[in-house]
């Protein structure tokens, strides 16, 4: 494009630079994402003296552009001349760290943390630390919140005088006027504590932690709970009781449900941090209280942690604690008034059986499982069913099957189609747990009934379910139990049901293998090509295309081809279209199988994803992997650049014409 005089390598860069200010956000974004290319072309000197000053002032842009800029600058060290000059990146990142959009600010802080590692200890004190101070004492809280995230990265690498200053700054921010800054400080408290000397953790951090944990703002107090975890891990066991526990106890009984929720949500982490002794003495009663909390959100969060909490109890007293302290609360939760609480419990309660062993499970847990299987809320029942495998290992599923079956049947017939959809998705799992006999006896009819559900999503899921069942139980089982029923629906008066036959065949052909497909399914499909409903006919064409790769070439030539050719002359436009699609599709499939694989790979665009989707549209799943390998071979021959040029020029249809 460039003339003989100009330097043609400059033109694309010139475009990129100009587009930094284009009116179209997308173009600006593209340019920012290629900022390294621009910097490379400008050289380190001009990047430092011209590009960075310009970027420092471009904080007016859209968030997504600023976000991309903040990210780019984190990887810019080499482009400004290496670690020696890395401090040049501070001004633009400093201005990005003060914008109002949290994601941009966070990204700027992340990049600042990254480049702080590339500063020499001297540069860190001369350039980086002053920036942190500037941010920490900024007029606006946006800059002060950003400062909170930077203390921990410079603290370990500066002199002791500067360290003292940093501690002072952090202390100031912990008692800032605006809750935003206190929240930022509270959320970084744990991280900062980790880099501090233990003496200072005890003297400074604990007092800050105590103050933040009794802040007037709920939103600050709840973040102190998170800090509690990291602080507790840092302190020696003997100090925990005096330094951390009073605050933790207070948080677990906070007036605000949000703080108690946070305690419940972080309970496993807290438990690990404070160790077994305190867990036994303090956390067990606290956990009991959370399970009995007056706010349902808190109970639900605690219920979610029941299994993890029990697992992490000290082994010597685990069973006793569970049986005497936890289980009574769990029993109450089974009949909780709030369905979220019940379903949270249902998603973990089965896990208790492995911890308690066979006898306790049968005696104490089984009644709870059974009660939950009969719960009025479908989500509770579903959560129990989805975790059946845990119980199966301990007591065997037979114990449950009496109650399981009615629960499954009820869910399978639920008025809400989303509930029916959810239970279908657990069918393969259930079939695996219950075994083929039980399945045939009790559940097979359900699976077939879903095929004629009046909601399409259910019929679709039901076909998919059949495929998974066949994969589990094998082709022979399919031939005996499923295939006859599926094929029988081909004569159903309802065309939707007839189409379901076709969809099932599409899904099952591969799992069933060539023999069943050719001998049993193909004749039915071919017969349906005479269906009076056009939708059925064009789905015949689609099915033939789909099962083509499974069939042998003989059947393709002698049976499939004539039918497709007949459909290609159909009066209905759509039927014609799909028949023609199928003809070219199966033709391509055949040829590829016949060995011109490498040729196709050569002309297919050099994008493995595209190749894959394209092949899927041809119905050639099994050759896909071979092709990707071929594609890799091709890449070895051609340069990447050359192939990229071809990308736009190649249309899918050209590939089909091979």
């Amino acid at each position: 494009m460039a003339g003989a005089d100009g330097d043609d390598s400059l033109y694309p860069i010139a475009v990129l630079i100009d587009e930094l200010r284009n009116e179209d956000v997308q173009l600006r974004l593209n340019s920012i994402k290629k900022l390294s290319t621009i910097a490379l072309a400008l050289g380190v000197e001009r990047t430092r003296t011209e590009l960075l000053p310009f970027l420092t002032d471009t904080i007016y842009d859209e968030d997504e552009v600023l976000l991309a800029l903040a990210e780019q600058l984190g990887n810019f060290t080499m482009l400004v001349g290496g670690p020696e000059y890395v401090h040049c990146l501070l001004p633009p990142l400093e201005s990005l760290a003060t914008v109002e959009e949290t994601v941009v600010r966070d990204k700027a802080v992340e990049s600042l943390r990254k480049i702080s590692q590339e500063h020499s200890p001297v540069d860190l004190e001369v350039h980086f630390e002053p920036l942190v101070k500037r941010l920490a004492s900024g007029d606006w809280f946006t800059s002060r919140t950003s400062a909170c995230g930077l203390f921990s990265v410079c603290y370990p690498r500066v002199s002791s005088t500067v360290k003292a200053e940093i501690r002072q700054h952090f202390r100031t921010l912990c008692s800032d006027d605006t809750p935003m800054v206190r929240r930022a400080a509270a959320s970084k408290l744990g991280e900062f504590a980790k880099v501090l000397e233990l003496d200072y953790v005890k003297s400074d951090i604990i007092s800050l932690f105590t103050a933040l944990a009794s802040d007037e703002q709920d939103s600050v107090r709840l973040l102190a709970v998170e800090a509690c975890v990291s602080i507790a891990t840092l302190l020696p066991q003997e100090d925990l009781e005096t330094l951390v526990m009073p605050t933790l106890r207070q948080a677990a009984e906070d007036k605000s449900w949000r703080v108690r929720y946070m305690v419940a949500d972080k309970f496993s982490e807290l438990q690990k941090a404070v160790g077994p002794e305190i867990t036994k003495n303090d956390l067990v009663p606290a956990f009991q209280n959370l399970l009995k909390d007056c706010e349902a959100e808190v109970r639900a969060a605690a219920a979610n942690k029941v299994k993890e909490f029990c697992e992490n109890l000290p082994e010597d007293s685990r069973e006793q604690i569970i049986m005497t302290h936890i289980l009574p609360c769990v029993k109450e939760l089974v009949s909780d008034t709030n369905q979220h609480v019940k379903s949270a419990l249902a998603s973990v309660i089965m896990g208790l059986s492995t911890i308690l062993g066979k006898d306790n499970t049968i005696e104490h847990l089984l009644p709870l499982f059974l009660a939950q299987l009969k719960d009025e809320c479908p989500e509770v029942r579903l959560n129990i069913i989805s975790n059946l495998d845990c119980v199966n290992e301990v007591i065997g599923i037979r114990q449950l099957s009496q109650s399981l079956l009615p629960a499954i049947v009820e869910l399978a017939e639920d008025a809400k189609w989303r509930v029916r959809l959810a239970i279908i998705e657990y069918m393969p799992l259930l079939a695996g747990q219950l075994g083929v006999e039980f399945f045939d006896e009790k559940l097979n009819t359900l699976c077939m009934a879903w095929l004629i559900d009046h909601v399409y999503a259910i019929r679709e899921a039901a076909t998919c379910n059949l495929m998974k069942l066949v994969e589990k139980f094998g082709a022979e089982w399919a031939q005996n139990t499923i295939v006859p029923k599926v094929l029988g629906m081909a004569n159903d008066p309802n065309y939707l049901h007839r189409m379901t036959t076709l969809f099932c065949i599409n899904a099952l052909s591969e799992a069933c293998g060539q023999d069943i497909t050719t001998k049993q399914m193909l004749p039915v499909v071919l017969k349906m090509s005479n269906d009076q409903v056009a939708n059925v006919r064009f789905n015949v064409a689609k099915s033939l295309q789909k099962i083509g790769p499974v069939l042998d070439s003989n059947a393709l030539q002698s049976e499939v081809k004539p039918v497709l050719e007949k459909l290609a002359t159909d009066t209905d436009m759509d039927v014609k279209y799909f028949a023609q699609e199928a003809i070219s599709g199966t033709a391509a499939a055949k040829q590829i199988i016949f060995g011109i694989l490498h040729l196709t790979a050569l002309i297919l665009p050099p994008n493995p994803e595209w190749t894959t989707t394209h092949l899927y549209s041809l119905g050639m799943f099994q050759v896909e992997l071979v092709l990707v390998d071929q594609y890799k071979a091709v890449l070895g021959v051609h340069s990447l650049h050359h192939l990229t040029v071809q990308e736009g020029a190649l249309q899918p249809r050209q590939a089909q014409a091979v």
């Binding site: 100009g6 930094l20 109002e100 946006t142 809750p179 929240r183 703002q217």
Partner: protein, 446 residues
């Protein structure tokens, strides 16, 4: 003029200009007015969906008396008229409320809402602009790519100050009924939006979901007897908010107790006086506005005829009751017929919570001094808005004999109503919206 200071410690002087639009269309009617937390900015919203922001002039040493003038800083279209195709309803663009966010960086932020959608606006200044293209020359002509021999990085050059307003967030699809108020929490992280039946809690950074914390919708809408008229967060306690109802009660909720605040923790209501009971009792007891005092100790409510101040510690009766225009009590029938009885007057505190202000008819507005128990009626009008003049108090006469300077109840103009007023957070500067005019009055400068 001395006698007026008897009523109030403040003498209000109008500025040299009245901020108003020249044409009188429906769209120009001011629907809300609000100072920001420093008082340097003042925003108005109108029925046409526009927001106008005024900025206070910086103090200049040469003309100290000019301090206090507010000039237009930014004007932007906040909401557009929309149509809800599912319900076949028009959604007006009228700005119902504006709330400023505390300043967080060099830009200013405000929330504006119409009946359905709350928007977060950023108002920022720009005084630099990049210059220098590679592919264009100074006049904007495309350069021949072949002549490019070196790269140019744009350079930022100073330019005339430009104020931009950009919509940063749009909080929509959460209200079935009309939003009547919005209020920002003291945690600066959340706010509530309130419609006739529900209160929703939003995070200022998240637009795709909100939490419904109060829902008074009965299962059967025919059983509906009460609607929410206004709601506000406590100025300091992040967990407390109050909402008022059409039945004249106020409920205080504690968000710490439960995630859903359907159960209130305090219920403020004054038992009805059976002797004054009439057909209009329920209508005139409906609360049109509720405001916490700046110190968070009191609640002020406005109903049709009175302003009441409640102590948060006393639920059974208001601490103080002020009659705004008791002379209308005899005219309720005609006010019902012309729909004026449903007018929603707002009320405001002054910076130190010692004076309260609220509007009335005939472009009158009222102030009540809580300490001296004095009150005054002032008028916002072009006629008596001469620069440096002092506002004369007005008097409405009820009886037959009308003294000089008094106005008879029958000659009040009910189409001129002052519904929206605001008081500077620290100084005695007030802004009063009278239909399409905004009057800014200031305490006398000595």
């Amino acid at each position: 003029m001395k006698c007026f200071s008897r009523y109030l410690p403040y003498l209000f002087r109008p500025p040299s200009t009245i901020l108003s639009s020249t044409c009188h269309t429906e769209a120009d009617i001011i629907s809300t007015v609000e100072f920001n937390s420093s008082g340097e900015l003042l925003a108005t919203g109108d029925k046409g969906g526009r927001v106008v922001v005024f900025q206070r002039e910086q103090e200049s040493k040469s003309q100290p008396q000019r301090r206090g003038e507010y000039n237009v800083y930014s004007t932007f279209q906040s909401h557009e008229p929309e149509f809800d195709y599912l319900k076949s309803l028009e959604i007006e663009e009228k700005i119902n409320k504006i709330k400023w966010l505390p300043q967080q960086n060099a830009a200013y932020f405000l929330l504006s809402t119409n009946d359905k959608t709350v928007k977060l606006w950023k108002i920022s200044e720009r005084d630099k602009r990049p210059e220098g293209y590679n592919l264009k020359d100074e006049d904007g002509r495309i350069r021949n790519p072949s002549t490019i021999t070196s790269l140019r990085v744009p350079v930022l050059q100073p330019m005339d100050l430009m104020v931009e307003a950009t919509a940063r967030r749009v909080f929509s699809n959460a209200h079935t009924y009309h939003i009547n108020s919005i209020s920002v929490n003291s945690d600066l992280q959340t706010y509530i939006s309130t419609d006739d039946l529900r209160v929703n809690l939003w995070n200022l950074e998240i637009t795709d979901r909100s939490f419904n914390i109060v829902d008074i919708k009965p299962a059967n809408m025919e059983e509906l007897t009460e609607v929410i008229t206004s709601a506000e967060f406590h100025p300091q306690q992040c967990h407390t908010f109050a909402y008022s109802s059409s039945k004249g009660s106020i409920r205080l909720c504690d968000m710490r107790q439960a995630a859903l605040c359907d159960k209130h923790c305090k219920y403020f209501e004054e038992p009805e006086d059976p002797s004054t009971r009439s057909f209009f009792s329920e209508i005139i007891s409906s609360i049109s506005d509720v405001k916490f005092s700046h110190n968070g100790r009191y609640l002020m409510t406005r109903d049709y005829l009175t302003v009441k101040v409640w102590d948060l510690q006393m639920e059974n009766k208001p601490l103080e009751t002020y009659q705004v225009h008791d002379y209308l009590r005899g005219k309720l029938c005609s006010l019902y017929e012309n729909d004026c009885i449903f007018d929603k007057f707002e009320c405001v505190w002054n910076g130190s919570d010692s004076v309260i202000m609220t509007g009335s008819y005939n472009n009158f507005f009222r102030m009540f001094d809580r300490n001296t128990k004095r009150d005054v009626t002032l008028e916002a009008s072009r006629e008596n808005s001469k620069p440096r003049a002092i506002l004369k108090p007005r008097k409405v006469c009820v009886g037959g004999k009308r003294r000089k300077d008094e106005i008879s109840v029958d000659s009040l103009d009910f189409s001129k109503k002052i519904l929206h007023t605001t008081w500077h957070p620290h100084e005695n500067i007030i802004a009063v919206a009278a239909t399409n005019n905004l009057y800014i009055f200031q305490d006398k400068v000595n």
